[in-house]
Homo-oligomer: 167 residues x 2
């Protein structure tokens, strides 16, 4: 396979992976493009490379910056903004984990707590519901906690975690 073809394939794959994870395709593609680019890119560069509109590029770049996985860069003497992806993969994974926890897991935990707090009623259905959601609350809280623990270490957490799990 040749460079241009490989690059394109990578961007497509990363993009479709994004959609499966609830991240929009363009956002994931921009991220992929920035990750494998040797140089920082301008919005114009990104629009051209991915064949997307200015508005689309602008909105998704902002989202990536909100997630903390893309940075703005300025070249001395130039007005135009350039963009670069977080280069450290540990850091990237940590930021994604943190963001998803904040946006999805934490709110779910809150709802689980809330709904499992209904008064204990006499009928079996309500009792079962209460028990089951309480169990879920416990489980999801622990899982979230584990995620925090795993990604707490700044350097090489995957390797360290695997090592610990093997002991």
């Amino acid at each position: 396979m040749e460079y241009v073809e490989a690059k394109n394939k990578f961007i497509q794959t990363w993009g479709s992976l994004g959609s499966q994870w609830g991240i929009n395709k363009t956002m994931a593609q921009i991220h992929a493009l920035l990750m494998v680019s040797a140089e920082v890119l301008s919005m114009e560069d990104i629009m051209e490379e991915l064949h997307i509109s200015r508005g689309n590029a602008s909105m998704n770049l902002r989202a990536l910056i909100d997630w903390g996985i893309v940075y703005k860069e300025y070249k001395p003497g130039e007005r135009r903004e350039y963009f670069a992806a977080e280069g450290n993969l540990d850091e990237l994974a940590r930021k994604i984990a943190k963001e998803r926890s904040k946006r999805e897991i934490k709110p779910t935990i809150r709802v689980l707590k809330e709904v499992s707090d209904i008064a204990t009623e006499d009928h079996q259905q309500a009792a079962h519901f209460k028990a089951k959601t309480a169990e879920l609350y416990d489980f999801v809280s622990r899982a979230d906690n584990m995620l925090e623990k795993i990604t707490a270490q700044k350097e090489n957490w995957i390797t360290k975690t695997i090592f610990k799990l093997m002991s």
Copy 2:
């Protein structure tokens, strides 16, 4: 909050969580409903409770069964099929992790390997691309490996993992 209201809130929340994770809303809602139901439910029951059509119920139940997190049950002397959710949360999480690894992570790893295998060219761009995708390949492989390790234990893996990580 009262039982019916709590139950509804839980189903809605679980459903929207589903969409954020690339699982369709109805599929997640059916799963939620089955999880908190004290009794097994028929397709008719599910259609009525969630206000969905027969076709929708049928397709999403099949998908849940494919994932291995919902089972068919038969009542003696009855023709009709009933459905129940996997009750053990450890088992549920393990099956979801396994399925997502198979469907998403493994194919991504394959592409990463493929694209990082381009011939080393002389220009800087291609060299950078090769290096970056190779790094990603390494990282994602390790992460997938870690997921396998974590969910390998059948009982109480969250607790065990947290315990190990604290040591």
